[in-house]
Protein backbone atom coordinates (compact mmCIF):
# COMPACT_ATOMS: atom_id res chain seq x y z
CA UNK A 1 0.00 0.00 0.00
CA UNK A 2 1.56 3.25 -1.12
CA UNK A 3 1.91 6.69 0.39
CA UNK A 4 -0.81 9.26 -0.25
CA UNK A 5 0.69 12.70 -0.89
CA UNK A 6 -0.58 16.25 -1.32
CA UNK A 7 1.80 18.52 -3.30
CA UNK A 8 1.32 22.24 -2.62
CA UNK A 9 3.12 24.70 -4.91
CA UNK A 10 1.92 27.67 -6.96
CA UNK A 11 3.99 26.47 -9.93
CA UNK A 12 2.27 23.83 -12.05
CA UNK A 13 5.58 22.78 -13.58
CA UNK A 14 7.10 22.34 -10.12
CA UNK A 15 4.18 20.15 -9.06
CA UNK A 16 4.73 18.07 -12.19
CA UNK A 17 8.44 17.86 -11.45
CA UNK A 18 7.82 16.66 -7.89
CA UNK A 19 5.43 14.00 -9.17
CA UNK A 20 8.10 12.90 -11.62
CA UNK A 21 10.78 12.84 -8.95
CA UNK A 22 8.57 10.74 -6.68
CA UNK A 23 8.24 8.23 -9.51
CA UNK A 24 11.98 8.29 -10.18
CA UNK A 25 12.73 7.77 -6.49
CA UNK A 26 10.88 4.47 -6.46
CA UNK A 27 8.62 5.55 -3.63
CA UNK A 28 5.33 3.70 -3.87
CA UNK A 29 2.48 6.19 -3.92
CA UNK A 30 -1.23 5.44 -3.80
CA UNK A 31 -2.28 8.93 -4.82
CA UNK A 32 -0.73 12.33 -5.54
CA UNK A 33 -3.06 15.27 -5.07
CA UNK A 34 -2.11 18.82 -6.02
CA UNK A 35 -2.93 22.29 -4.77
CA UNK A 36 -1.70 25.68 -5.98
CA UNK A 37 -1.66 27.35 -2.57
CA UNK A 38 -2.38 26.78 1.08
CA UNK A 39 -6.08 27.59 0.77
CA UNK A 40 -6.59 25.02 -1.99
CA UNK A 41 -4.64 22.52 0.09
CA UNK A 42 -6.90 23.01 3.12
CA UNK A 43 -9.92 22.61 0.87
CA UNK A 44 -8.52 19.38 -0.57
CA UNK A 45 -7.87 18.05 2.92
CA UNK A 46 -11.55 18.50 3.77
CA UNK A 47 -12.35 15.84 1.18
CA UNK A 48 -9.26 13.63 1.10
CA UNK A 49 -7.00 12.22 3.74
CA UNK A 50 -3.31 12.05 2.86
CA UNK A 51 -0.29 10.62 4.62
CA UNK A 52 1.99 13.64 4.06
CA UNK A 53 1.91 17.16 2.64
CA UNK A 54 4.81 18.56 0.60
CA UNK A 55 4.63 22.35 0.52
CA UNK A 56 6.41 25.36 -0.85
CA UNK A 57 6.59 28.45 1.37
CA UNK A 58 5.95 31.50 -0.79
CA UNK A 59 2.58 31.17 -2.54
CA UNK A 60 -0.20 33.62 -3.34
CA UNK A 61 -3.58 33.50 -1.55
CA UNK A 62 -2.18 31.47 1.37
CA UNK A 63 1.48 30.75 2.01
CA UNK A 64 2.96 27.50 3.27
CA UNK A 65 3.59 29.18 6.59
CA UNK A 66 -0.05 30.27 6.92
CA UNK A 67 -1.24 26.81 5.90
CA UNK A 68 0.87 25.11 8.56
CA UNK A 69 -0.49 27.50 11.21
CA UNK A 70 -4.04 26.61 10.16
CA UNK A 71 -3.30 22.90 10.26
CA UNK A 72 -1.92 23.25 13.76
CA UNK A 73 -5.19 24.86 14.84
CA UNK A 74 -7.20 21.82 13.73
CA UNK A 75 -7.66 18.95 16.15
CA UNK A 76 -8.06 16.63 13.16
CA UNK A 77 -5.24 17.90 10.96
CA UNK A 78 -2.59 18.97 13.48
CA UNK A 79 -1.02 15.49 13.36
CA UNK A 80 -0.72 15.51 9.55
CA UNK A 81 2.99 15.53 8.67
CA UNK A 82 4.13 18.48 6.55
CA UNK A 83 7.45 18.59 4.72
CA UNK A 84 8.61 21.96 3.40
CA UNK A 85 10.17 21.91 -0.08
CA UNK A 86 11.82 25.27 -0.72
CA UNK A 87 14.76 27.09 -2.28
CA UNK A 88 15.28 28.79 1.08
CA UNK A 89 17.58 26.62 3.15
CA UNK A 90 18.86 29.21 5.60
CA UNK A 91 19.01 28.14 9.21
CA UNK A 92 16.62 30.93 10.09
CA UNK A 93 13.90 29.74 7.70
CA UNK A 94 14.29 26.05 8.53
CA UNK A 95 14.07 26.83 12.24
CA UNK A 96 11.02 29.01 11.69
CA UNK A 97 9.12 26.35 9.75
CA UNK A 98 10.01 23.52 12.12
CA UNK A 99 8.93 25.64 15.10
CA UNK A 100 5.61 26.26 13.35
CA UNK A 101 5.03 22.52 13.06
CA UNK A 102 6.70 21.24 9.91
CA UNK A 103 8.19 17.78 10.41
CA UNK A 104 10.69 17.84 7.56
CA UNK A 105 12.53 20.09 5.12
CA UNK A 106 13.90 19.48 1.63
CA UNK A 107 15.94 22.17 -0.06
CA UNK A 108 15.58 22.83 -3.79
CA UNK A 109 17.51 21.65 -5.76
CA UNK A 110 17.15 18.07 -4.58
CA UNK A 111 17.89 14.57 -5.78
CA UNK A 112 14.98 12.11 -6.02
CA UNK A 113 16.43 9.97 -3.25
CA UNK A 114 16.67 12.99 -0.94
CA UNK A 115 12.96 13.61 -1.22
CA UNK A 116 12.17 9.94 -0.75
CA UNK A 117 14.43 9.65 2.33
CA UNK A 118 12.82 12.66 3.96
CA UNK A 119 9.32 11.33 3.32
CA UNK A 120 10.28 7.95 4.72
CA UNK A 121 11.98 9.54 7.73
CA UNK A 122 8.97 11.68 8.56
CA UNK A 123 6.57 8.78 8.16
CA UNK A 124 8.80 6.43 10.09
CA UNK A 125 9.03 4.05 7.15
CA UNK A 126 12.12 1.87 6.96
CA UNK A 127 13.54 1.04 3.56
CA UNK A 128 13.87 -2.73 3.59
CA UNK A 129 16.71 -2.53 1.09
CA UNK A 130 18.66 -0.15 3.34
Amino acid sequence: MGVSILIVDDSAVMRTFIRRVLDLSGLETSQCLEAANGAEALEALQAHWVDVVLTDINMPVMSGEQMIRRLQQSAVLESLPVIVVSTDSTEARMRQMMELGARGYVKKPFQPEQLRREIERVLGVCDATG
Binding site: V13, M14, F17, R20, N58, T87, S89, T90, K108
Partner: protein
Protein backbone atom coordinates in the same frame (compact mmCIF):
# COMPACT_ATOMS: atom_id res chain seq x y z
CA UNK B 1 31.00 40.38 0.36
CA UNK B 2 34.28 39.47 -1.39
CA UNK B 3 33.74 39.21 -5.16
CA UNK B 4 35.53 35.84 -5.37
CA UNK B 5 33.20 34.38 -2.76
CA UNK B 6 30.18 35.69 -4.63
CA UNK B 7 31.35 34.29 -7.96
CA UNK B 8 31.99 30.91 -6.35
CA UNK B 9 28.57 30.88 -4.72
CA UNK B 10 26.87 31.77 -7.99
CA UNK B 11 28.80 29.05 -9.84
CA UNK B 12 27.83 26.51 -7.19
CA UNK B 13 24.18 27.52 -7.30
CA UNK B 14 24.04 27.32 -11.10
CA UNK B 15 25.74 23.93 -11.20
CA UNK B 16 23.56 22.44 -8.48
CA UNK B 17 20.30 23.59 -10.06
CA UNK B 18 21.13 22.64 -13.64
CA UNK B 19 22.49 19.19 -12.86
CA UNK B 20 20.04 18.24 -10.10
CA UNK B 21 16.74 19.66 -11.32
CA UNK B 22 17.28 19.91 -15.05
CA UNK B 23 19.63 16.96 -15.58
CA UNK B 24 21.77 19.24 -17.73
CA UNK B 25 25.40 20.22 -17.96
CA UNK B 26 26.67 23.61 -19.04
CA UNK B 27 29.94 24.96 -20.26
CA UNK B 28 31.03 28.40 -19.22
CA UNK B 29 31.76 30.79 -22.07
CA UNK B 30 33.59 34.07 -21.91
CA UNK B 31 31.90 35.96 -24.74
CA UNK B 32 29.54 38.45 -23.17
CA UNK B 33 27.98 40.16 -26.14
CA UNK B 34 24.40 41.36 -26.21
CA UNK B 35 21.62 38.82 -25.62
CA UNK B 36 19.66 37.70 -28.69
CA UNK B 37 16.46 39.65 -29.29
CA UNK B 38 14.23 36.59 -28.89
CA UNK B 39 15.79 35.41 -25.63
CA UNK B 40 13.42 34.48 -22.81
CA UNK B 41 14.14 36.86 -19.94
CA UNK B 42 13.40 36.65 -16.23
CA UNK B 43 14.28 38.86 -13.31
CA UNK B 44 13.56 39.01 -9.60
CA UNK B 45 14.59 40.98 -6.57
CA UNK B 46 15.76 39.40 -3.34
CA UNK B 47 15.65 41.03 0.06
CA UNK B 48 17.79 40.13 3.04
CA UNK B 49 21.48 39.94 3.65
CA UNK B 50 22.48 40.34 0.88
CA UNK B 51 19.79 42.13 -1.12
CA UNK B 52 19.88 42.72 -4.83
CA UNK B 53 18.50 41.77 -8.19
CA UNK B 54 18.87 38.66 -10.31
CA UNK B 55 18.55 38.62 -14.09
CA UNK B 56 18.54 35.71 -16.49
CA UNK B 57 18.12 35.31 -20.22
CA UNK B 58 18.10 32.09 -22.16
CA UNK B 59 17.88 31.32 -25.86
CA UNK B 60 14.45 29.92 -26.81
CA UNK B 61 15.73 26.53 -27.98
CA UNK B 62 17.66 26.07 -24.76
CA UNK B 63 14.62 27.10 -22.72
CA UNK B 64 12.53 24.53 -24.55
CA UNK B 65 15.15 21.84 -24.02
CA UNK B 66 15.43 22.59 -20.28
CA UNK B 67 11.65 22.55 -19.95
CA UNK B 68 11.48 19.13 -21.56
CA UNK B 69 14.19 17.87 -19.22
CA UNK B 70 12.39 19.33 -16.20
CA UNK B 71 9.02 17.84 -17.07
CA UNK B 72 10.26 14.55 -18.51
CA UNK B 73 8.89 15.41 -21.95
CA UNK B 74 10.35 15.60 -25.40
CA UNK B 75 11.28 19.23 -26.12
CA UNK B 76 8.86 19.27 -29.05
CA UNK B 77 5.95 18.45 -26.73
CA UNK B 78 6.25 21.42 -24.38
CA UNK B 79 4.02 24.46 -24.65
CA UNK B 80 5.03 28.14 -24.39
CA UNK B 81 3.32 28.64 -21.00
CA UNK B 82 5.29 25.69 -19.61
CA UNK B 83 8.52 27.21 -20.95
CA UNK B 84 7.84 30.55 -19.30
CA UNK B 85 6.95 28.92 -16.01
CA UNK B 86 10.03 26.73 -16.12
CA UNK B 87 12.30 29.71 -16.79
CA UNK B 88 10.71 31.45 -13.78
CA UNK B 89 11.47 28.38 -11.67
CA UNK B 90 15.02 28.27 -13.01
CA UNK B 91 15.57 31.89 -11.98
CA UNK B 92 13.91 31.33 -8.60
CA UNK B 93 15.99 28.25 -7.78
CA UNK B 94 19.36 29.65 -8.85
CA UNK B 95 18.75 32.92 -7.02
CA UNK B 96 17.43 31.15 -3.92
CA UNK B 97 20.34 28.72 -3.89
CA UNK B 98 22.81 31.59 -4.22
CA UNK B 99 21.30 33.55 -1.33
CA UNK B 100 21.05 30.42 0.83
CA UNK B 101 24.79 29.87 0.38
CA UNK B 102 25.26 33.04 2.43
CA UNK B 103 23.20 31.58 5.22
CA UNK B 104 22.58 34.03 8.02
CA UNK B 105 20.19 34.37 10.90
CA UNK B 106 18.22 36.87 8.84
CA UNK B 107 15.24 35.61 6.88
CA UNK B 108 15.33 36.53 3.22
CA UNK B 109 12.55 36.99 0.72
CA UNK B 110 12.51 36.35 -3.01
CA UNK B 111 10.06 38.30 -5.10
CA UNK B 112 8.16 36.25 -7.69
CA UNK B 113 10.22 36.09 -10.89
CA UNK B 114 8.88 38.16 -13.77
CA UNK B 115 9.08 37.09 -17.39
CA UNK B 116 9.55 40.22 -19.41
CA UNK B 117 12.09 42.47 -20.99
CA UNK B 118 14.40 44.33 -18.70
CA UNK B 119 17.07 46.93 -19.11
CA UNK B 120 20.42 45.21 -18.72
CA UNK B 121 22.08 46.35 -15.51
CA UNK B 122 25.41 48.10 -15.50
CA UNK B 123 27.91 45.31 -16.23
CA UNK B 124 30.39 47.00 -13.93
CA UNK B 125 27.98 46.44 -11.02
CA UNK B 126 27.22 42.81 -11.78
CA UNK B 127 28.57 39.34 -11.42
CA UNK B 128 27.93 37.74 -14.83
CA UNK B 129 27.98 34.17 -15.98
CA UNK B 130 27.35 33.02 -19.53
CA UNK B 131 26.87 29.35 -20.19
CA UNK B 132 26.43 27.12 -23.19
CA UNK B 133 23.83 24.38 -22.87
CA UNK B 134 23.18 21.69 -25.45
CA UNK B 135 20.57 23.76 -27.31
CA UNK B 136 21.77 27.31 -26.74
CA UNK B 137 23.10 29.87 -24.32
CA UNK B 138 22.05 31.20 -20.94
CA UNK B 139 23.35 34.22 -19.10
CA UNK B 140 22.93 35.29 -15.51
CA UNK B 141 23.57 38.69 -14.00
CA UNK B 142 23.63 39.26 -10.26
CA UNK B 143 23.54 42.78 -8.92
CA UNK B 144 23.95 43.34 -5.20
CA UNK B 145 22.81 46.46 -3.41
CA UNK B 146 25.78 48.56 -2.63
CA UNK B 147 27.38 47.53 -5.90
CA UNK B 148 29.56 44.84 -4.32
CA UNK B 149 29.82 42.76 -7.44
Amino acid sequence: MPPVEMHQALDTAIDQVLTTMFFSDAERVEDCGAPPGDAVRASLAFHGEPSGRFYLWIEPAAARELTGAFLGLDAAEVHPPQIQETVRELANMICGSFVSLFETEVLFLLDAPQIDGFDPPDPQRCCRRRLRLDAGELEIWLELEGGQS
